[in-house]
Amino acid sequence: MSDLLLEVRGLRAGYDRAVVIHDLDLAVEPGRTAVVIGPNGHGKTTMLRAISGLLQPWAGEVTLDGRRVDGQPAERIAGLGVVHVMQGDGLFAGMTVEENLLMGSFVGSSWRGRREALRRVYQALPIVQEKRAQKARTLSGGERRLVGLGRGMMRPARLMLIDEPSLGLAPVAIEAVYAALADLRKESEAAVVLIEENFTHVGGIADVVHVLEAGAIIRSGSYAELSTDETIVQTYLGALPEAGR
């Protein structure tokens, strides 16, 4: 099992006394993209936060490249090459776009490569370059999401955790975000765990899809398998995904 980049076993986590996820297992191979879908409030964000260390897991193991990281603080896990693109962007609202991006290069050795990283991000996301001198709080939702992704590209990652990139965005903006994600997948060798509420947008990037319900993974399979499984589609998503996605 040592060829797994991320291995989560028996993870249990929550807030105060409320258990949100329990006995959650998840494995991601290097360079692969695992998409976790499921209804809101069933623990997707909690799972990501427990992996990145923003939330201390109550039980279970999180192993990165064969190395236990559960219980370590988020800043240390970040230093091991985990990039967490947070829900609602997690941008520093009072800082400019470029300052936000630079923070993406904070970790140790990546700071020295920040100029080069900035160039790469600006090349990949021209809209971000256009807005680079603006305060993050003045951006539209879609722009913010792209800056958040760009910030995640500012240092070499082994694992990217991406929290609901389509959340609250207009369809046009969602398309732009997923186009950027697809580019990112081509360029980066990082493994990705991406969470979304539904299948609609993830077809192009998912190597494997997991369905998370009530705090545990209840189904796993390829996008083709799950997106045509009527029980899954109707029970958890309510509607069939748009044709062609």
Binding site: S52, A74, A78, G79, G90, F92, A93, M95, L102, F106
Partner: protein, 296 residues
């Protein structure tokens, strides 16, 4: 005319030193969301470093300033580790702002009383950094010491601004102030950043202390008045706003200078507090503050 020059000149000098002492409190409030009541004792410590270096050992003025910076940096870092850090780890169960208001004040009293034990209650003379004075217009003179104090205060405030805008750790301080979780996921070691921030803030106050010692004295109570003024300035400026703090510092300096020139020193605090009361009633969050906006 003479009055106007005197008001502007003195207002500028007061404002600069108030800014230097208060800006550290703003930096700390912006990052940790606590009011650091030990800031006055850092000024006091600075006056004693000035006295020790300049009067006792006849050292160069620059050496005295650097020494004050280092000593109060260490003192400030230690204060954070002792009186704030243990509580941050329990932030869920305690009202951090309220409890640290008391614990940092306790440390301030502790430091003050150690100074009292060690140096005794009597005021000690601190030599001025630069002697001599210049007459601006007839009847209005400013000492070179005051000019240097204002100049270095401004240089330090600008340096702080550049540090926060341009450097890796400066950006990290602002990032922590705005979104703690996001900053941690960027890899910012918050547990190290907090003590260093408080050390830096204290060091600025400590440098201010060397100047204030030269203007007045080194004594155990040398930090009381500066703390009071710093509190006024940070609240008036809008808690956590750096630019607001600087505006407020000069405004307070000008009000003080105006009062002294027109009505005499005894009216200073009365008029100052009346003005602050009036301003805060109109703008409860201070000049530049707002209830929810991210800071620094």
């Amino acid at each position: 005319m003479t009055d106007i020059v005197a008001i502007l000149a003195n207002g500028f000098i007061y404002g600069s030193i108030y800014g230097l002492v208060a800006i550290g409190m703003t930096l700390i409030y912006g990052t940790l969301r606590i009011l650091d009541m030990s800031q006055g004792s850092m000024v006091m410590a600075g006056t004693y470093v000035g006295w020790w270096a300049l009067a006792e050992h006849g050292l160069n003025a620059l050496v005295a300033l650097v020494l004050a910076f280092i000593v109060t940096f260490i003192l400030g870092t230690a204060t954070e580790l002792v009186s704030v850090q243990p509580l941050i780890n329990r932030a869920k169960e305690v009202d951090l702002e309220m409890v640290t208001f008391i614990t940092t004040f306790a440390v301030a009293i502790l430091i003050t009383n150690l100074a009292l034990q060690h140096f005794g209650p009597f005021q000690k003379n601190v030599p001025v950094i630069v002697s001599g004075q210049v007459e601006l217009v007839k009847g209005v003179t400013i000492s070179y010491h005051e000019l240097t104090m204002a100049g270095i205060s401004i240089v330090l405030m600008c340096s702080l601004g550049l540090f926060l805008a341009r450097t890796r750790w400066g950006l990290a301080v602002r990032a922590v102030a705005q979104d703690l979780d996001a900053a941690r996921s960027m890899g910012v070691p918050v547990t190290r950043l907090y003590p260093l921030t408080m050390g830096l803030a204290s060091a600025l106050a400590g440098v201010g202390g060397v100047f204030l010692g030269g203007l007045y004295f080194a004594s155990p109570s040398a930090g009381d008045q500066p703390l009071l003024f710093a509190l006024i300035v940070v609240v008036l400026g809008g808690l956590g706003s750096l630019t607001g703090t600087i505006y407020a510092a000069y405004l307070v300096g000008l009000i003080q200078a105006f009062t002294e020139v027109r009505y005499g020193t005894t009216w200073t605090l009365t008029i100052l507090y009346a003005a602050i009361l009036a301003i805060l009633l109109v703008r409860p969050y201070g000049l530049k503050g707002s209830p929810s906006e991210a800071r620094l």
